[in-house]
Symmetry: C2
Subunit: 302 residues, 2 copies
């Protein structure tokens, strides 16, 4: 059974356009409408036939929808919700794809006090942005986390869950606050650290930018991929999930100081013990299909 028949996507970047393509591939009878605040993105979306209709206002996009998914940076969720408030059908379910859930749930509930809201976070993405970066299989074998607040209509939760399963995802439900702490360590802190080290390397005087790039295959290049992610999206994530990110950052800094001390005082055993322990984590990730089993992420061997 089709969970929704008329889906509106607000925000046509990497995630929004991937949802559109995945819906086309997996539920081809669904009527798809879309909107993006950027006129150029709307033009591109029309040119590549991303949806059945690309509207010129958010209201026009949602007029007829039974599911509205907000796919904008988390700092823009409140505004996006307010922009559809007057035209949202009473029986529509509203969802989103934001990487922080407490702040987004609050913003959506304030903007749409009478709507049925089921916040969601598909844990998937690439370093690319924009309507042409999306692809239909982005959510295959990835997790999608739902964080409905207490008292949400269970039928609506079930329909959103079915929707994501149809796109290839595995669905998990948890509290928004717990989600934000889990993602702070598995996604937000890794991005923050990657952005930092790429900045540190760029600012050195004695090592040239050209040297940093030439010798990046020694490890550095791995960090540049996530440090190439969308700046607006990530600025919003850090500001919206501030407390959890700062707490995880504090723990990371303490651990880094301990390693720094081990290096300074020649404590090789401490280093060796940690390095042996971390190896097992990689093994589990590969075993559970959350990363490529081939070495080097399956990068081409030549």
């Amino acid at each position: 059974m089709l969970p929704f028949a008329r889906v509106a996507i607000i925000g046509l970047g990497l995630i929004g356009s991937s949802i559109a393509r995945a819906v086309r591939a997996e539920m081809p009878t669904v009527a798809l409408s879309g909107y993006d605040a950027d006129p150029e993105t709307r033009e591109t979306a029309r040119a590549i036939g991303l949806c059945d209709d690309i509207a010129d206002t958010p209201g026009a996009a949602v007029l007829d929808a039974d599911l509205v998914i907000l796919c904008v940076p988390v700092g823009a969720m409140g505004d996006a919700a307010r922009a559809i408030a007057d035209d949202l059908p009473a029986d529509a379910v509203v969802s989103d794809v934001g990487s922080c859930k407490e702040s987004v749930a609050k913003a959506l509930a304030e903007a749409l006090p009478d709507a049925t809201i089921v916040p969601a976070h598909p844990v998937a993405g690439t370093e690319r942005s924009g309507p042409e970066a999306g692809f239909a299989t982005l959510f295959h074998h990835r997790w999608c986390i739902l964080t409905p607040s207490e008292g949400t209509d269970p039928v609506a939760i079930e329909r959103v869950s079915t929707f994501w399963k149809r796109l290839g995802a595995t669905v998990e439900t948890m509290e928004a606050a717990h989600h934000d702490r889990v993602l702070a360590i598995t996604s937000h802190l890794p991005h923050l650290i990657a952005y930092t080290i790429v900045g540190t390397a760029s600012d050195l005087e004695e090592v040239t930018a050209s040297e940093v790039i030439k010798y990046s295959a020694g490890g550095f290049r791995d960090f540049t991929r996530i440090a190439a992610s969308d700046p607006t999206m990530w600025r919003d994530v850090f500001l919206s999930n501030r407390e959890a990110v700062l707490d995880m950052l504090q723990r990371f800094s303490e651990d880094l100081s301990a390693l720094q001390r081990a290096i300074r005082w020649d404590k090789g055993d401490e280093l060796f013990d940690l390095f042996t322990r971390t190896r097992a984590v990689r093994r589990s990730i590969v075993e559970q299909g959350q990363d490529d089993a081939a070495e080097n992420f399956g990068r081409a061997r030549d």
Copy 2:
């Protein structure tokens, strides 16, 4: 012209066994001998026919060589050099593949005071270890850095340079001290940070190991790859390149504190500016062929 006719490889892990395979592929007439301190590794090397001869002592492996390459962890270079000292032919060139060059050059010069030494560092690798992890194209399109000390026979330098070019690498020459600072930022610090964050994530009480693994596609999984690298090799690298690593770590920590402050005080512009700047670095790395142009490192789309 063949730069060397009889090559001995001491240490048959990822790098040593990749050199053996690459020599077989690119210079098939070269006579290859090998040795590894681990009897099991020698057995495996024999079983897969890695070299023409796998010797049971380091001395026997180098008896007839015109090039000896030490492919052991940097902390074991001195011992490996001492172990071949008595049997090393007078006209043989000695090289190595260590990730730190000042400490290794010193250890080799002390152990082999009369030998012609041309230290080298091929900037290439994967997270795998051992004789079966190597492959012939590992050095294609990668840089190999030579750090000969002043007064080294230019003909020997030229021959080692030709050897690496024949294996598919591009060769650069620089001072050992500069090498160690460049690699501290492009390779050593990235590994240290990756090991740290994987450790931090493993030690959380409120977020389970299972959650860390399930939601790792949000960014964390990228770090687990290099945190799965060989523990002995990396322990040695951090202790051997201590000063440069501690200095780069200090700069990184300062930059991380600045970002922490920007998040705490809601300075979105500072975050946005950095995140925009780091994007360009990725672009250069891809343009210069130092990483996959496909998104997500070219990970399979399904």
